[in-house]
């Protein structure tokens, strides 16, 4: 498990949003030198913040085939030219999934999701019944195998009762299954290749980790200014807390300003036409 305690800048930020708190906390979870398979959106923001602050040698991999990429702005899509231009190498998508992910080269799979449940199962497929969905979501993409073939998985998602449900409508990507036991008793050959699954869930209110025995997600750290009641209200099952939850450290000025600069650069980059040569 990653170390949450190192010095991330001397001055505590005075003013930051709950989302910034979430992103900074998530970035701190990545230790320097980690090989991270990055999902688009919030995980991409946090992983790049880590690279720009305490973890400059973090290796970022995106499923479009960009290996060890160092984008200057956050990609809007998983296959933006920026990712290829700043990568060590760009491989085909079959190679990415077969050699690099399934081949066991990924330390951390960093995922977002639409829904997560008590046993950290992820749903990005749909709300409602499969044949007559209430809301059709984009689907699995890389996540089902990122969730199982990475050594461990971090999940980033904003806390709300719609997102944190007792049981997901559809398991797109495995956490620990509907009974919390899906990673137990696997064929030894599968067990040798399959990762530990979600080890950390980062929200805008708290950190959650699976209970070592039952694999139920429990609150292990509470963000500054957040009450237990807020977390209980925003969680769709009777959520439990460890005996003495930690207080999540506040972000530093340096982290918040680095994140804001990154987002401002990104906003400028994506707001105009970019007809110039991309190579």
């Amino acid at each position: 498990m990653s170390d949450m305690s190192p010095d991330h800048g001397n001055t505590t930020a005075h003013d930051y949003t709950a989302t910034e708190m979430m992103t900074v906390t998530a970035s701190r979870a990545l230790t320097n030198g980690t090989t991270c398979f990055v999902g688009i959106g919030l995980p991409s923001e946090a992983a790049n913040l880590a690279r720009l602050t305490h973890a400059p040698d973090t290796v970022l991999i995106y499923e479009s085939g960009t290996l060890q990429t160092r984008p200057d702005v956050l990609p809007l899509s998983i296959g933006d030219g920026e990712l290829c231009d700043t990568a060590l190498s760009t491989v085909s998508v079959p190679e990415m999934f077969r050699y690099w992910l399934q081949g066991g080269r990924v330390d951390v799979g960093f995922l977002g999701t639409a829904q997560i449940d008590r046993y950290a199962n992820l749903n990005t497929t749909l709300i409602g019944d499969y044949r007559e969905p209430k809301v059709r979501l984009p689907g699995g993409g890389g996540a089902p195998e990122i969730a199982t073939n990475s050594r461990e998985v971090f999940v980033m998602i904003k806390h709300s009762p719609r997102a944190f449900v007792e049981e997901v409508d559809f398991i797109t990507s495995l956490g620990f299954g509907r009974d919390g036991r899906a990673r137990d008793d696997l064929h030894p050959e599968t067990a040798r290749h399959i990762g530990r699954g979600p080890t950390l869930v980062i929200t805008d209110l708290c950190l959650m980790r699976p209970d070592p025995d039952t694999h139920e997600l429990v609150v292990t750290s509470i963000h500054p200014g957040v009450t237990r009641e807020q977390i209980v209200d925003a969680t769709g099952w009777p959520v439990r807390f460890v005996e003495s939850p930690e207080a999540t450290p506040e972000p530093s000025e340096h982290e918040v300003s680095t994140l804001r600069e990154l987002k401002a650069r990104t906003e400028r980059h994506h707001s105009g036409h970019h007809e110039e040569k991309s190579a």
């Binding site: 688009i40 959106g41 479009s64 085939g65 960009t66 990609p75 809007l76 899509s77 998983i78 296959g79 933006d80 030219g81 990712l83 290829c84 760009t90 085909s92 998508v93 079959p94 990415m96 999934f97 077969r98 992910l101 399934q102 199962n121 497929t125 499969y130 969905p133 209430k134 809301v135 059709r136 979501l137 984009p138 689907g139 699995g140 993409g141 890389g142 996540a143 089902p144 195998e145 199982t148 073939n149 398991i171 797109t172 495995l174 299954g177 899906a182 990673r183 064929h187 050959e189 599968t190 290749h193 994506h270 105009g272 036409h273 970019h274 007809e275 110039e276 040569k277 991309s278 190579a279």
Partner: protein, 274 residues
């Protein structure tokens, strides 16, 4: 052997009603010009395959070209839903759309298996996922050496694959650079293939390990400058991320969508549409 054709002729000759068609491109090099030509030629009842159906498949589905979609992630990257895809799945408009969904890892393997002439792809995938419960094409086999249970899905073998690439030489050899996705596999897995290119050059000047498709592995080449826009062509032009954001509002409403397609696709010459 690759034949140089106009885009109109290439689509007319190689894409037929009822075909299984793949217009591949992993965010990069999406063959918009060719897809728009398919829409203008009013192809119907297509089975569309693509890992990441985005705006182009949203347009083809919304215009009634497709009856089935095989995919692994259907969204507008970084923006949200594909509203025409959702309308077809949720409300059966403009026609019901059968969907068969996979994960990226499985689809990538299915392309490789198709290119390799194998009947199936094998992967350590779908563990604990509900996807095998809703997709009959996701099955399992036991490894004959270790006994491990592995996921198996059929190889992708489309009637025709359509891709966009940077350039062809005068003999019809094609160079693909940047995020190469599954384009090589998708062409080699298909019975026929159409490649649109930014330009034709005297020499590809490709380094020894470059992604090059030989002329004898391609059916037709059509020159379509800007043919990947609003996605991008590495080395030529960037992705119009602003348009991807605007598409959300255009596609959300049936009439707005229809009008946009009339103005920007149906009534324009090949190769110059948005």
């Amino acid at each position: 052997m690759a034949e140089f054709l106009s885009l109109h002729e290439a689509i007319a000759r190689h894409v037929h009603d009822g075909d299984t068609v793949a217009l591949e491109g992993f965010t990069h090099l999406i063959p918009f010009a060719a897809g728009h030509e398919i829409i203008r030629q009013k192809r119907q009842n297509l089975t569309l395959i693509r890992m990441t159906p985005d705006l182009l498949y949203d347009q083809m589905i919304g215009m009634g070209c497709a009856s089935k979609l095989i995919f692994s992630w259907g969204g507008n990257p970084g923006v949200g839903s594909l509203h025409r895809l959702r309308d077809a799945v949720e409300k059966h408009y403009p026609a019901p759309l059968e969907i068969l969904e996979h994960s990226h890892a499985a689809m990538a393997c299915a392309w490789e298996a198709g290119a390799a002439g194998l009947p199936l792809a094998v992967l350590r995938g779908y563990l604990g996922s509900d996807l095998p419960r809703v997709n009959q094409d996701i099955r399992h086999i036991d490894c004959p050496f270790t006994g491990e249970r592995l996921a198996a899905i059929p190889a992708n073998r489309p009637d025709v694959t359509v891709i966009h690439a940077q350039k062809a030489d005068r003999a019809g050899n094609v160079l693909i650079e940047g995020i190469i996705g599954v384009q090589k596999e998708a062409v080699l897995a298909a019975r026929r293939s159409v490649v649109t290119v930014e330009e034709v050059v005297d020499s590809l000047e490709a380094h020894p390990n470059a992604c090059v498709l030989p002329a004898w592995a391609i059916s037709a080449i059509a020159v379509a400058p800007g043919g990947a826009a609003p996605s991008y062509t590495h080395g030529y032009y960037g992705r119009r991320n602003d348009f991807y954001k605007q598409w959300d509002a255009i596609a959300r409403d049936r009439d707005t969508f229809r009008q946009w397609m009339e103005d920007n696709v149906m009534t324009v010459e090949e190769g110059v549409s948005a």
